[in-house]
């Protein structure tokens, strides 16, 4: 297939899956909003964990279903679509759930509908309704749809491991086959325009939101029994297919794998170095992207001209990790940046650029749920000595520290598991752990792979657990 056909197919698939996923996300949002508050944390955790399970491992598990690989194009495509759909629905849900409140309340929307003049032409009434609909009831849904499209359209690992048609895989293959950078960049114009069109509104929403907001509607009807059953069924299928099955498949040879790994000193040392490299670069780039996003959003709120900078900065990152890698390589091979080529700088820069749109999205969400009055009150309490100060610290941790740390950890998690950027941009000798895993996956050595995957997954969790008290203290 030509590249145009491939990217148009990816576009069509992304639009179809987005249309299917959106009502599912909407249902889950209602489920969350109408559930008792004490359950909400668990519900959010149940939704979040399948997204955080590395897609590389999910893709590998299903690439081992050999019959699937030879059943022809359609069954493979449908299976890929199902997995992708299950994975993106929680992303849409979280974006919708945490979306900035609409500047138009439901009451205002209803009043506008009533105020329509019947003597005006239909097209004009429809135009007015559409405009207010986008500004009001549809705003959060459109926001979720943009995010869903972004994830669906830029998917790479799963498409690559299941050998399905995707513009990202085509471009990776073509680049490996010697396609010149200029040609690759030309190919990217179409996909990049699509992404920008779909997601260009996100920074604008976050940058302007706090100035005018009508708040979320509080009085939503409790979900019906069938609706709740649907939500729980969805969670069961998603956990089964995206977390439990891959974990069982990869984990079944865990013990012999760990034995084999530790008896091979070179491999064990290589993996340890790989984990350190991945964790170090993830930490630096995650924190840098988060700070940069906060800075850009603050600038955009204070000076509207900065909005263009925010959109441009996000736009570059939305081109996908392969394009970012190629552009960064080209920049660092130019004569004036050449001395920095074989250093960690290109990798860190690539990761920051790639993370930036996500960081802007998360920072925006974070700022949209912040309560400056509560924070101010807690800070006033903090000036008192004694138990009130401890209580104030706890409040600050819950409303400010914990969400901020969660955002940074999420960014670091994405950077840690990123494959293409470290593969292309890391200097010789620095092989990140996910790249090592990817090598093993293609060679199909299951026992060693099991051990490596388990350790790669566990190491950052362990690090966070060890550092958690310090993180908590520093955040308050």
């Amino acid at each position: 297939m030509t590249f145009t056909a491939v990217w148009l197919w990816t576009l069509l698939r992304s639009l179809v899956l987005m249309t299917i996923a959106l009502p599912g996300s909407g249902l889950l949002v209602r489920w969350l909003r109408t559930s008792p508050p004490r359950w909400r944390g668990w519900q959010l955790a149940l939704l979040m964990l399948p997204i955080l399970f590395p897609l590389l491992l999910t893709g590998y598990a299903y690439s081992q279903m050999t019959r699937l690989l030879i059943t022809g194009w359609w069954p493979r495509e449908l299976w890929f679509d199902l997995l992708l759909l299950l994975r993106v629905i929680p992303i849409g849900t979280l974006l919708w759930y945490y979306s900035p409140p609409s500047p138009l309340s439901r009451e205002a929307w209803h009043a506008r509908v009533l105020a329509l003049r019947s003597d005006e032409p239909v097209w004009r009434r429809l135009g007015v309704l559409c405009w207010y609909w986008v500004q009001g009831p549809a705003r959060a849904g459109l926001f979720a749809a943009s995010g869903l499209f972004l994830v669906l359209f830029s998917e790479f690992e799963l498409a690559s491991l299941l050998a399905t048609t995707s513009w990202t895989v085509w471009l990776f293959d073509a680049q490996a086959g010697g396609l010149p950078l200029s040609e690759s960049l030309k190919c990217c114009v179409g996909p990049a325009c699509c992404t920008w069109l779909a997601c260009g509104t996100l920074p604008w929403m976050f940058a302007t939101q706090p100035l005018r907001s009508a708040g979320h509607s509080a009085n939503q009807a409790r979900l019906s029994m069938a609706g709740r059953a649907g939500c729980w069924s969805y969670l069961a299928v998603t956990w089964g297919l995206l977390v439990i099955y891959p974990s069982v498949l990869i984990g079944r040879e865990a013990l012999p794998g760990v034995g084999a790994l530790f008896s091979n000193g070179v491999q064990a040392r290589g993996l340890a170095q790989g984990i350190l490299i991945a964790a170090g670069s993830a930490l630096i780039s995650g924190v840098a992207a988060d700070l940069l996003a906060g800075l850009l959003l603050s600038c955009a709120r204070q000076r509207p001209n900065w909005l263009r900078v925010v959109i441009l900065a996000s736009g570059v990152g939305l081109c996908g990790s392969l394009i970012i890698s190629l552009v960064v390589v080209a920049c660092f091979q130019s004569s004036w940046l050449r001395p920095l080529y074989d250093t960690p700088l290109p990798l860190l820069l690539g990761l920051v650029v790639w993370l930036l749109p996500r960081a802007i999205l998360l920072q925006g969400m974070l700022q949209s749920i912040r309560s400056p009055i509560a924070e101010h009150a807690a800070r006033l309490l903090l000036t008192n000595a004694g138990p009130r100060s401890t209580a104030a610290r706890n409040i600050l941790w819950h409303i400010q520290g914990r969400p901020a740390i969660a955002v940074r950890l999420l960014l670091c998690h994405w950077a840690y598991w990123e494959l293409t950027l470290p593969d292309v941009l890391a200097p010789a000798g620095l092989v990140a752990a996910p790249v090592r895993l990817y090598i093993d996956m293609h060679f199909g050595r299951n026992a060693m792979l099991t051990a490596k995957a388990g350790l790669t997954l566990a190491a950052p969790l362990l690090l966070v657990a060890v550092c958690w008290p310090w993180l908590k203290k520093s955040a308050t």
């Binding site: 297939m1 030509t2 590249f3 690439s63 081992q64 050999t66 019959r67 690989l69 030879i70 690559s160 050998a163 085509w170 990776f172 293959d173 073509a174 680049q175 490996a176 086959g177 010697g178 396609l179 091979n264 070179v266 491999q267 290589g270 630096i284 924190v287 840098a288 700070l291 940069l292 906060g294 800075l295 603050s298 600038c299 204070q302 390589v329 091979q333 050449r338 001395p339 920095l340 080529y341 074989d342 250093t343 960690p344 700088l345 860190l348 593969d423 200097p427 010789a428 000798g429 092989v431 790249v435 090592r436 990817y438 090598i439 093993d440 293609h442 060679f443 199909g444 050595r445 060693m448």
Partner: protein, 363 residues
């Protein structure tokens, strides 16, 4: 207040990174600047212990860049061509030979004929020493013994069947399947290969991402047989799966024996150390290690057969009938151009080769 704090952190962080990067270039981290840079397309599980052993013995620090299997050696070959004007790699360990011919033609390599070069037979090395082969693997038919008898006639029957959906091969755009195609192109001519390629796809031949997937398909019984490499076959055999192998034989009963290759990069900053590594890789000791590894690679230099595992001795006998891969450069380039068109810019409207329906040869 919050804004200015963020600015300070970002500026300081960036400065720190730039200074760190600059220090690394200014030889403050001496280990890094003195290190021998090796690009390695061979499987890290086998190659890394050998390279680390060299590092341990000589004290020469080494920075290794591995290829991901997904992009095969083409990823590193392109990178070497891309870096030609300012190379950072000193030694390239490739897992096949035809890519070396490409690099030689692009003037990326420089000749070196050391002690290791002398012990390798002529057919596996460049006469001027631009590259030298060692420790080879063979293309084989992997057969699921619970589904089909492991003999050439039974495999031949599978290829002659109306439907080829019990057979699998890797996508021929990269790796050793590309070498396999280049051999077929050399022997049949490109038009006949194209016709065969089209016809076998029409008959339902399964085409998958890599040789390891072919091995999985056959070993798990989803397919009866397929083309793969000996090292992939031994992964399945060692796992106790019901598989056997037969050497792929092309015209005049020749086998396809694909050596690893090593070369010194033009403009290397560490030529003496790089030459030391090349001699180490081409030594009998390294070849013996690779023969005794789970990949069972076939030594190409002179070696006492008694020291070799039984399976490798059998492979060494097959390797004697190997096609001379040095003559395949033009065939490989033709295949790459055609397959790139076929897989990456394929347009049904532009198809000119009509599918042959009968009389297509089996490989």
């Amino acid at each position: 207040m919050r804004l200015s704090k963020s600015v300070v952190v970002i500026v300081l962080g960036t400065l720190l990174l730039v200074v760190a990067a600059w220090l690394s270039q200014r030889s403050i981290w001496t280990k890094s600047s003195q290190a021998l840079v090796v690009y390695c397309a061979h499987d890290a599980e086998y190659s890394e212990p050998i390279l680390k052993e060299f590092e341990r013995r000589t004290g020469i620090p080494m920075l290794i860049r591995f290829d991901t299997e997904a992009t095969k050696s083409l990823g590193l070959i392109n990178l070497l061509i891309h870096e030609k004007s300012q190379p950072r790699c000193d030694v390239f360990w490739n897992n096949e030979l035809l890519g070396m011919l490409d690099l030689q033609a692009q003037e990326v390599l420089q000749p070196y004929r050391g002690s290791g070069y002398e012990r390798i037979p002529d057919r596996y090395k460049d006469p001027e020493g631009y590259w030298t082969g060692f420790a080879a693997r063979l293309r084989v038919d992997i057969v699921n013994t619970s589904k089909v008898k492991a003999d050439p006639e039974a495999v031949e029957e599978l290829w002659k069947a109306d439907k080829l959906n019990s057979l699998a091969i890797a996508k021929p755009l990269y790796g050793t399947t590309l070498v396999h195609y280049a051999v077929l192109s050399q022997q049949w001519g490109l038009p006949r290969l194209k016709a065969w390629h089209r016809e076998t796809r029409d008959r339902g031949l399964n085409e998958v991402n890599g040789n390891a997937t072919v091995k999985n398909l056959v070993a798990q019984g989803a397919c009866s047989a397929g083309w793969t490499d000996t090292d992939d076959f031994f992964v399945a055999k060692d796992a106790g799966l019901p598989v056997a192998m037969l050497p792929v034989r092309v015209n005049q009963n020749q086998t396809i024996c694909i050596p690893n290759c090593v070369a010194l990069i033009q403009g290397s900053q560490h030529t003496p150390e790089a030459q030391q590594l090349i001699d180490f890789l081409l030594s009998a000791e390294t070849e013996l290690k690779l023969a005794k590894s789970s990949a069972r690679q076939v030594p190409l230099g002179k070696m006492d057969p008694v020291t070799l595992p039984t399976e490798v001795r059998e492979l060494a006998a097959w390797a004697q009938d190997g096609v001379d891969l040095r003559l395949l450069y033009a065939a490989r380039q033709g295949c790459v151009a055609w397959l790139t068109e076929e897989y990456l810019r394929y347009s049904p409207a532009a198809t000119v080769t009509p599918p042959a329906t009968t009389g297509a040869p089996s490989p």
